[in-house]
């Protein structure tokens, strides 16, 4: 006889309320987490979406990619010596559309490789957010420092840097735009990357992200918000499951008195915890993932299944701990205590 499910069936409202709390709190955590990740993507998706690898910048640049210049001969040497090595540069800038309206962008260019978008001279590829700002394929965009025009060839998804849309341009156009011949950085995919190159400072992806101005502070704040919420929600879950079971000490005592094994009481408590948590989390995951798909374009929201499952796992473990702590109380209870408490 499954006592856990029989109790849920009889006390639907009580379990529905408890399930609703787990559902709402977990949904809140997922949504906040999605917004935090969205902001993080908005700040650095250009870098975050690259494969794992090493970034190299001039050792004298003091970890500021803007100040880094890798001389041409070393750049040539690295590209020839290491498979899939790419030199690239990132610079803030702006574009004027046909109505002379200015749009802030981040110009990105690279030596030819599959890692960054390759564009021909006079062409430009833009992050899709520019489409929402009225830019269309075939539009001609200008910049006062560039003698020609950029023809919009297409849009790419999720290419943001420092909360601005990325604009991929040809390396020759970049050199004219910024009056430089050297690239700022070299990226070498993980499997080919050496630990040290003389004169250059090496960064993993995470380390490089931290060199982006404001990224680190923003991330720490967002991570703090999410984990603070996770801890508070987790404690709330644990307390709810603890209270739910401690309130039933009388019932458990009577069940013990008639001879029910303590292990069966534990199974009953864990089954109820699992039923409530899994049902509520499944609903939260479904709604938050649906929101992920329908969130307005301008809203930075990014919630991966991986993040959702990690958070769900944390909630499940905390719920389990809360129930187990309560079950230790139940283990100690003497049947006689429950009998002497009077009618339930």
């Amino acid at each position: 006889m499954n006592l856990a499910l029989k109790e849920i069936k009889k006390n639907k409202v009580k379990f529905l309320i408890l399930g609703s709390i787990v559902f709402l709190v977990s949904l809140l955590t997922f949504i906040i987490s999605g917004l935090a990740n969205g902001l993080s993507q908005d700040n650095a998706s250009l870098i975050k979406d690259l494969p794992e690898g090493q970034f190299y910048m001039n050792a004298e640049a003091e970890e500021t990619y803007n100040l880094s210049r890798i001389n041409s001969s070393m750049q040539e040497e690295l590209i020839n010596d290491y498979k899939d090595a790419t030199a690239f540069s990132i610079q803030m800038g702006f574009l004027n559309d046909q109505h002379d309206k200015q749009q802030s962008v981040v110009f990105v260019t690279s030596t030819g490789s599959e890692i960054f978008k390759d564009v021909k001279a006079g062409e430009i590829l833009l992050d899709r957010s520019m489409e929402d700002k009225g830019v269309k394929i075939g539009d001609r965009l200008t910049n006062p420092q560039f003698s020609g025009e950029f023809i919009v060839k297409g849009f790419v998804d999720q290419s943001k840097f420092s909360h601005a849309a990325v604009a991929f341009i040809n390396i020759e156009n970049y050199k004219e735009l910024y009056r430089v011949d050297e690239m700022q950085l070299v990226f070498i995919p993980k499997e080919n990357a050496p630990q040290e190159i003389t004169g250059l400072q090496s960064f993993s992806k995470q380390e490089f992200l931290k060199t982006i101005p404001s990224y680190n502070a923003e991330q720490m704040t967002l991570t703090m918000i999410v984990w603070f919420l996770v801890v508070i929600s987790g404690m709330l879950f644990a307390i709810f499951f603890y209270m739910m079971n401690v309130q039933k000490i009388g019932l458990y005592g009577i069940l013990k008195a008639i001879g029910l094994k303590t292990s069966r009481l534990f199974t009953m408590m864990w089954t109820q915890m699992m039923f409530i948590t899994l049902t509520s989390l499944a609903l939260s995951i479904a709604i938050s993932q649906s929101f992920n798909m329908v969130a307005p374009e301008g809203m930075p929201f990014h919630l991966s299944i991986e993040t959702t499952l990690i958070l769900s796992g944390v909630f499940f473990v905390i719920g389990f701990i809360g129930t187990t702590i309560a079950s230790l109380q139940i283990k100690k209870i003497e049947p006689l205590q429950a009998i002497q408490q009077g009618e339930m």
Binding site: M1, L3, I258, I339, E343, M344
Partner: protein, 237 residues
């Protein structure tokens, strides 16, 4: 023949530096198939004696022997097993599981006592016992919809469905009015006699004593008097 024996049972409760001896070396034997009533003033130790006999708490000293088993030397799991298979309980309150129907309460007891009956045999057994206590028409009802007397009938059914050897009843009629108390005691007597169940019953209600084969009077943690009731009643008359 003695089915259940207690030898020199003592129970001491400690509260800080204070020690209170509730049972002061009690000897007791329960004869098979008989109803034994434990009577005495409040605080005389009768409920403590019953709960120790039923394995719901341990004695500080002495022996509790049931069949070939010495409960005093057994661990909690061994006692639980005896409790679930060989003992039945009726308390002052019915203590039914609130989320189970009347039928499910009894099915649970059969489940706990690990009877080797198949599902349909269990259902048949439940039907028979419910007829015996006159509750077969309420088998789908939940405890919240039952009256006090009905609840106690279900509690009796739950206490005997697994055919226990010993039935322990602690003031089973204390929460009922006199009419219902009489009905319940009639029921306990009829069932225990029919199924040959040895019964130890704690009561302070003089009227209930007429149902007992044997009366034990307790005072201040000791057995003061032991007699067959019918004999004693005749004596008084």
């Amino acid at each position: 023949m003695s089915l259940f024996t207690m030898n020199k049972v003592r129970k001491t409760f400690t509260n800080g530096d204070m020690k209170e001896e509730i049972l002061k070396g009690v000897n007791l034997s329960l004869r098979e198939g008989e109803i034994t009533a434990l009577v005495g003033a409040s605080g005389s130790g009768k409920s403590t004696l019953l709960t120790i006999a039923a394995g719901l708490q341990s004695a500080s000293d002495g022996q509790v022997l049931f069949q070939e088993n010495n409960l005093s030397t057994m661990n909690q799991e061994q006692i639980r097993e005896i409790r679930s298979k060989k003992f039945g309980f009726i308390f002052q309150f019915a203590h039914l599981v609130p989320f189970l129907t009347v039928e499910e309460q009894l099915m649970l007891m059969l489940d706990v006592s690990e009877t080797k009956l198949k599902k349909d045999e269990q259902k048949r057994e439940v039907e028979i016992i419910l007829q015996l206590v006159g509750m077969d028409h309420r088998k789908q009802a939940y405890p919240s919809s039952l009256s006090g007397g009905e609840k106690q009938r279900v509690a009796i059914a739950r206490a005997i469905i697994h055919k226990p050897k010993v039935l322990f009843a602690d003031e089973p009629t204390a929460s009922l009015d006199s009419k219902r108390s009489k009905d319940i005691m009639d029921l306990i007597r009829d069932i225990t006699k029919t199924l040959n169940i040895t019964t130890l019953i704690v009561t302070h209600d003089e009227e209930m004593l007429s149902y007992a084969d044997h009366i034990i009077k307790m005072s201040d943690g000791l057995i003061m008097q032991e007699a067959g009731l019918n004999y004693e009643l005749k004596e008084n008359a």
